[in-house]
Symmetry: C2
Subunit: 391 residues, 2 copies
Amino acid sequence: MDLTTQIPPADIRPGILRLDDSRIREVAHYGMKLGGVVPLWFGEPDEPTPAFICEAAAEALRQGHTFYTESAGVPELRAALAEYLTPLCGRTISPERIVITASGMNAIQIVMQSLVDAGTNVVTTSPLWPNCSETVRIMGGEVRPVLLSMGNDGWQLDIERLMDACNGNTRALFINSPNNPTGWVMPRDQQQALLDFAREKGIWIIADEVYDRMVFEGKRAPSFLDIASEDDPVLALNSFSKSWSMTGWRMGWITAPLGMIPTLLKMNEFNTASASTFAQHAGVVAVKQGEPFIARSVARYKQGRDLVYDRLSQHPRVRIVQPKGAFYHFFAVDGMTDSLDFAKRLVAEHRVGLAPGSAFGPGGEGHLRLCFANSPEILNHCLDRIETMLG
Amino acid sequence: MDLTTQIPPADIRPGILRLDDSRIREVAHYGMKLGGVVPLWFGEPDEPTPAFICEAAAEALRQGHTFYTESAGVPELRAALAEYLTPLCGRTISPERIVITASGMNAIQIVMQSLVDAGTNVVTTSPLWPNCSETVRIMGGEVRPVLLSMGNDGWQLDIERLMDACNGNTRALFINSPNNPTGWVMPRDQQQALLDFAREKGIWIIADEVYDRMVFEGKRAPSFLDIASEDDPVLALNSFSKSWSMTGWRMGWITAPLGMIPTLLKMNEFNTASASTFAQHAGVVAVKQGEPFIARSVARYKQGRDLVYDRLSQHPRVRIVQPKGAFYHFFAVDGMTDSLDFAKRLVAEHRVGLAPGSAFGPGGEGHLRLCFANSPEILNHCLDRIETMLG
């Protein structure tokens, strides 16, 4: 059944009808119908959640943790996250500053609802995971993308251009670092300059740090939480999805200044009430016992990253740089002007699923995104097909 | 730490700052600090989720159902719900019309985001669970409450007044039946009249039917889905929370006309991406094997309903009618002009937690809400205390 030809029986907001469908989903839905496709299109680890976390959820269910919980989240999880963050940040993060959300996605949604309305704007880097921009548009706000550029030393941001894009109607700077799709990581000096700017102008920094542990040097990417005081206009968003391979659990958190907490509690209540109660109890175990798993995952992803780089960097049509974080290669293909069409043909003719660069907004066209959180066998198989397609 | 005195470091939307805090939460937070309180303030069954549903979740985790799933939800769950709804509705409901959401609350949020913006309004009955109205206000819309009245035969709606409250800017009629907090159930003839009106005017009916199985005559309350075709402007919202005692799981669903599905998929993607994957697999088991549990629960709640009615209807200060659905008594107390103050004193002096009527908007003041989904022992204990307080 082709639903797109169906007409709704009453009015939908024009601004909602104009929202882009995800082009990642467009390729994926197309490919799923074909069958036998190796999917590297989503941002998802290839392994299921580790057994010790699953077992903790089963135990929480057996103990009857199936009731509503506080809007802020289960106290044990807020405390565990505060303990987890404090040494990573090198400064005390108190549990009162942490609100558990029903996914990192919902953390973005809640924050945008709180800050954005018609006549205001959010400045961000581009290319970017499209859902971030769409949440701004749902609230009637404007997205102001500032392009990253791909140099030989990796993706770069001209921070002056980011600041110049702000005006009196700017409510927030949305910074996703490590970045989906480029793997760009904002360096500490840029974070400090941007924090100074945000303080001076009274603009929020929304720091989407869901890939913070997926870095190939050091234990974690630089975080705005490392340099922000508890009174600074920084909202740091994170998720259980990437660090602990818990995508299907739908759980995230926001670390916020104390003055923002009452608003976030209200918005959590009016969005999902809270994240799943027993999932939060399993989250405690993930946070407290998950370090060996994270270390092993990052080592695997690094292997995948290097494998893809070593092969694609040899191809005359491909321009590729090593990402510093996240688990994607976002590479340019010479002569490819329609990445959506290319990605669909790659699926149809070669049964390999990549995300088209055009899905990621300005600066994305001409690129393809490949999730390298996969085994060498699968990656080599896909690269064989991609190379055939590239000619 | 009193967070309400903290000042946010940058601007929050004025419309968000004006949103009411939940007064139910206000009493509950006050009471939780005291300790030893018997809580009848939330709308929650007293028993944990049945073991067979918990075991299904544990098994889904063991099988590795921990990855992202489709925005529409796990296909097996959409199929199971279609099979569940079809005999209840007496007409075929196709799986294509069903979208799984991360709670009934989030279903409301997604629907309001899709329909409401500044300059539009939503007409609803009042008193009403406050979260419904707040989602309209988050989107900048106006809530137009039409009062239910409490007669000797129970709560009543003058449907002409509901229609008169609509104007050219009305996007939706929000009908929560069985109703939280009053237990009012909209009869079939009113549903038919309202559906005819909505068709003619091109206004959506948002039917919040989360208590549809919690009725004390018949198998289910009348549903708009029983009379609406798949092209009618009816969005029926439901939840796993009440029927299967799964409040802490955060899972619901929307049954919509086909023309609305593409919009709901987008909004699901941009709100939470989907509900928890393994929870959805457990949902299949709940829907398919849950009937004996529902029957047993309703029998228990009916016992609780009658017990509370029999005692409170004897009290000279109390005016109470038997609710037809949901699991609350919403009774009037003669001479009580500040239900929030009364509820706080009841907690402080007698350690019994009720929700203040003023939490439920216009028509709510002067009442208290008591959730009778509890054992006779607990209800009798609480009624002893309440009667003492009433004098």
